[in-house]
Amino acid sequence: MIELDYDTIVIGAGPAGLASAIKAKELGLKTVLVENKDILGGIPLQCIHPGFGLQYFKEDLTGTEFIYRLFDKMEKIGVEYLLKAHVYSVELVAHNEKVVNVITPKGIMRLRSKTIVYTVGAREKSIFEINIIGDRPGAGIYTAGEAQTLMDLYGILPGKEIVIVGSGDVGLIMARRFALEGAKVKSVIELMPYPGGTMRNIVQCLQDYSIPLYLSHKAIRIIGNERVEKVVVAKVDENLKPIEKCKFEIPCDTVILAAGLVPNVSILEKIGMIMDPCTGGPMVNEFLETNVPGIFVAGNALVVNDLVDYVVEQGEQAAEGAFYFVQNNGLPTINWKRVVRGRNIRLIVPHYISGERDIILYARVQKPEKNVLVTIPEIAWKMKLSNVRPAEMIRAKLSKTTLESARFEDKVTVEVNTQ
C-alpha cells in the first residue's frame, strides 16, 4: 500500500474541488486533488449550454469552457491530482490527522492529511425516491444527468417522445436539449405551484420552444412493458395530494427525472457527521468546517447551488478554512452564533458564524414572494429584493462591521418579510 502525507486532500474534482485545490495550493498547502473518474472537471464538462461564470469570470461561458478556465489556472500553479481514484473510506485518527483510503489502479493508497475538503457534489433522486409507482421497464427512464451524459459526452439519443418530471434547472435544460435534437418534449411536470428552475430557464428552455409546463401536477405511475409507453399524471391539491378526477395519461417513450438533487454525503455519514435535514448536507461554520474538526465541505455536497459561481466561491472559502486550520493546528475556539431560519427561509448556510469576520450567506426561500426585505433583526441588517423564488438562491455578503453587534448574541435570525 502506498502511504503519503498532505496538508489537505480535496475529494472530488468538479468546480468546487478544482477551485478549492487551486486556492489551497496558492496558499502554500501541500495539496492533492482526488477524482474517481478518468478526467477532472465533474458535471459542468457535459454542460454545453451557457450560463456559467457570469459572476466569477464576468463572462457568459458554457460549462465546458468554465471548467477549462479553471484547468488553465490549475496548470499555471501545478496542482497534484489523482484520477480513477475512488475514496473508499475516511479514518479519523486525531483532531489534526485523517487517513483517506483510496482505491486506484496503482493499488490502495493511504493518504494522511491534516484537513479534508469534501467536494463530491450531489446525486439525482430516482423514481423510487419520489414515489412513482407502476412498471419498471428499465429502458426509457433516465435521470436528467444521465441523459445529458449520454447525449453530450457520448452522442447517444435516449428517446424521441419525452416527459420531464421536475422543473429544476437540469430538467429545463434537458427539455431544450431534446427539443433541439428534434425530439417531441410532451411536457414538464412540476409538483409545486411554481417552477423549480430559474426564470431565465423557464423562458429560454420552455417558452421559446412552446413546451408545456404543468405546475401542481404529479407523475404518479409509469406504464410500459419493455420500454416506457406512458406516464399517468394527476393534478394535486394544496396538500400536494393527487386529485383522482384530474388524472390523465401522456404517451411517451422516455421519462427524464429532474426531481431534485441530494448532497452526496454517504462517506461523511459513516464517520458520524451531523447533517442538516433542510440542506441534506453537513452543518458547517463560516469556514465551511463541519462538526468533525478539519473536514470542510463545499459546493453541492454542502448545499445544492444553482450557480457554478457560488460553488467555486465555496470551494475557495473551504480552502481558506483548511489553510487557517493547518496554520493554527486547528481552528480557534469561537463562541459560535447559530444562524436561525426565520420567516420564509427554507435553508441557510453556514449554520454558525462568529461575528468576527466577513461572511457570505446562502439561503433559499420556502415560497415565492414579491418586494421583500431579507433581514437579520439582531444586527439590524436588511436587503431589499424585488423577487424571491425557491429556485433562486439568495446570496448575501455581510461585512465584519455589519456583524459586529452579533458578537453579543447567541443567534442571528434570517427572515424574509413582505414590505
Binding site: M1, N36, K84, H86, Y88, N101, I103, T104, P105, K106, G107, I108, R123, E124, S126, F128, E129, N131, I133, G134, D135, R136, P137, G138, A139, G140, T143, G145, E146, T149, L150, M151, Y154, G155, I156, L157, P158, G159, K160, E181, G182, A183, I220, R221, I223, N225, E226, R227, D253, S266, E269, K270
Partner: protein, 497 residues
C-alpha cells in the same frame, strides 16, 4: 445413447434440476429460457428467505413439508460449493396479542411434527435482547434458528454457471410454443428458435407452467395464478436494520410480511399478497395501496418506522399460485417423458435443491432408468472476486495482479471494472445471447446502491459496448436498448422525409 432432456424455465427450480441431472452420464440436457437471462421470474423478486419448514402442514402439503426441510439443509452445502452469498440469522414470527399467540403456538406443533430443530417461543425482555430492532408492542415470537437469507438472483446464476460447466446447454430468449408428442411419447419442443428434440421434457416454467402443462395435454384445468408481492427496499445506511428475519403471523394466502436485512445489507419490507387474474403473468407493477400497506406493516414490525427518504427501490414479483397451493410434481407415462414440476409456490426457492433430487428419483423410478454417475462432475463454482467485499490489503494484492480491480465503476457498491468485465465473460460463457445491463447488475451489484445506477449505468454500458463490439445505444437495459440512436438521429430522418 444419451437421453435428451429439455428443461423449460431457467429459474431456481429448472436450474437446480439441470444441476442435479448433470451429475449423471445418462442425459444430454438443454435448459430453455424465454428471457435474456436466468432467474428473471419468481426466482428474482422474492423475500430471499431459506425457510425452516415449520410453516408447512405435512398432512395437506406433504411435498412442501418434506422438501422445504430437506432444501434448507441442502442449501448450506450448495452455497458452500457454489460460493453463493448466504447467512443464517434465524427468524422470529412475531405476535402482538393472545389471539395471535394461539396461532403462533400452532407452529410449535408443526415444527414438532416436521422435525424442525430448535423452534421455541421467546417473550418480551428476552425477545428484545435477541432482537433490539423489534417493535416493543410485540409480546412474543416463535424463533426458528434454521432460517436463512440468500441472494436469490446470484443463487440461480451460480447454479447455472455450475450446470453449464458440467455440460448443460443453456438457450435463452427461447420460448417454448408447443410440445411435440408422437405415439404417446414426448419427441421435443417447438420454440421461436426452432424445434428441439427431446426424450424428456421437464416443465419448470413457474408462472407459465400451466401453459406448458396444457401443451402436453395433461392435467386439464390446472392453472397458475400470479400472486403479486410488492416490496420496499431501503438504503444500507438506514438506522434500524434487524439482525434476524422478522415477520408477522402468516395468513391463509401469505407467510406474513417480513422485515429483513438482505445479503447486500439493505432493509427490505414485504411482500404484499395480491391474487391477479391468470392472464396477468407479466404485471409486476407496484401500487399505491400495496406500498402503503407495507409502510404500515414496517411500523408494526420495527422499533421505529423506517425513514421515507431512505427508500432506494420499490418492486414487485409474481409468485406462481397453483390450485389449493398444491405443487404439481408428476412424471407422466401419457405422454411418456413429460414431467410437471409446476406451480411451485412458496417454499419453492428453499425446496429447489431437494426438489431437484426428488425429480431425478422420479425419473429413475417412473422411466426405469439405471442412473450412472459421471466420473468427473465438478461440484464447485466460485463467485466473481469482489473488491467491495474484501479488506484493503486483499484488494491491494488483487490490484497489483490486475489494475482493473483498482478502477471503480460503481461508487455506491464499490464495483470495479475488472468485475464488470468478468461478468461479461461469464455471461458469454453460459451462452447468453444478450449481455444486458440488468444481468451485469445482478452479477456484480453495480447499480444496486443508493443512486440506483444514475452514475454508473452509462459507464457499464460503455464497457459492454466496447467488449461486445456494439454501438452504445444498442446496449440492452433489460429487454430494450438504452438509446434510440445517435444524437442527430431524428434530424436525419426529418431531412430524408
Amino acid at each position: 445413447m444419451k437421453m435428451k432432456v429439455v428443461i423449460v424455465g431457467a429459474g431456481v427450480v429448472g436450474s437446480s434440476i439441470a444441476r442435479v441431472l448433470s451429475m449423471y452420464d445418462n442425459f444430454d440436457i438443454i435448459l430453455v429460457e424465454k428471457e435474456p437471462d436466468v432467474g428473471w421470474g419468481a426466482s428474482k423478486a422474492n423475500t430471499s428467505i431459506i425457510h425452516p419448514g415449520h410453516e408447512e402442514e405435512p398432512n395437506i402439503h406433504p411435498h412442501r413439508a418434506k422438501l422445504c426441510k430437506e432444501g434448507n439443509r441442502l442449501w448450506r452445502q450448495w452455497a458452500r460449493e457454489l460460493d453463493i452469498p448466504v447467512k443464517w440469522p434465524g427468524e422470529l414470527m412475531i405476535f402482538y396479542n393472545s389471539e395471535e399467540e394461539k396461532i403462533a403456538r400452532k407452529y410449535i406443533e408443526l415444527a414438532k411434527s416436521n422435525n424442525i430443530p430448535g423452534v421455541r417461543i421467546f417473550y418480551q425482555e428476552e425477545l428484545r435482547k435477541m432482537e433490539p430492532s423489534i417493535n416493543p408492542n410485540a409480546i412474543g415470537a416463535v424463533y426458528a434458528p434454521t432460517a436463512g437469507i440468500i441472494s436469490p438472483f446470484e443463487a440461480v446464476i451460480a447454479i447455472v454457471e455450475n450446470a453449464v460447466d458440467n455440460g448443460v446447454r443453456l438457450l435463452t430468449e427461447t420460448k417454448v410454443e408447443g410440445i411435440k408428442i408422437a405415439e404417446g411419447r414426448v419427441r421435443g419442443v417447438m420454440t421461436n428458435m426452432g424445434f428441439i428434440e427431446a426424450d424428456i421434457v421437464i416443465n419448470a416454467a413457474g408462472i407459465y407452467s400451466d401453459e406448458i402443462s396444457s401443451m402436453a395435454g395433461v392435467d386439464s384445468g390446472f392453472t397458475v395464478r400470479p400472486r403479486r408481492g410488492e416490496y420496499l427496499l431501503f438504503d444500507e445506511d438506514i438506522r434500524i436494520k434487524p439482525e434476524r428475519i422478522l415477520h408477522t403471523i402468516p395468513t391463509p394466502i401469505s407467510k406474513g410480511v417480513y422485515a429483513i436485512t438482505t445479503i447486500h445489507g439493505n432493509l427490505m419490507i414485504g411482500p404484499t399478497a395480491e391474487d391477479l387474474s391468470v392472464e396477468a403473468k407479466e404485471d409486476t407493477s407496484t401500487s399505491e395501496i400495496g406500498l402503503e400497506y407495507l409502510w404500515n406493516e414496517a411500523g408494526k414490525l420495527l422499533r421505529e418506522p423506517p425513514s421515507r427518504t431512505k427508500v432506494i427501490r420499490t418492486f414487485a414479483g409474481l409468485r406462481p399460485e397453483p390450485p389449493d397451493g398444491h405443487w404439481l410434481i408428476e412424471a407422466y407415462t401419457e405422454p411418456f417423458g413429460f414431467i410437471n414440476v409446476a406451480g411451485i409456490r412458496s417454499p419453492g426457492f428453499t425446496s429447489s435443491p431437494a426438489l431437484a433430487h426428488h425429480v431425478v428419483n422420479l425419473i429413475k423410478a417412473k422411466y426405469d432408468i439405471n442412473l450412472v454417475m459421471k466420473r468427473k462432475w465438478n461440484p464447485y463454482r466460485s463467485d466473481i472476486a469482489k473488491v467491495g467485499h474484501m479488506s484493503l490489503r486483499e484488494a491491494d494484492k488483487l490490484i497489483s495482479e490486475n489494475p482493473d480491480y483498482g478502477e471503480i465503476v460503481c461508487y455506491c457498491k464499490t464495483v470495479s471494472k475488472a468485475e464488470i468485465l468478468e461478468a461479461i465473460k461469464r455471461m458469454k460463457k453460459i451462452g447468453l445471447k444478450t449481455v444486458t445491463l440488468d444481468g451485469i447488475k445482478f452479477r456484480t451489484g453495480a447499480g444496486l446502491g443508493t443512486c440506483q445506477g444514475s452514475f454508473c449505468r452509462c459507464r457499464i454500458a460503455l464497457l459492454i459496448s466496447k467488449y461486445m463490439d456494439m454501438p452504445l445505444h444498442k446496449v440492452v437495459v433489460k429487454k430494450k436498448p438504452y438509446g434510440i440512436g445517435e444524437v442527430k438521429e431524428l434530424l436525419k430522418t426529418e431531412r430524408s422525409e
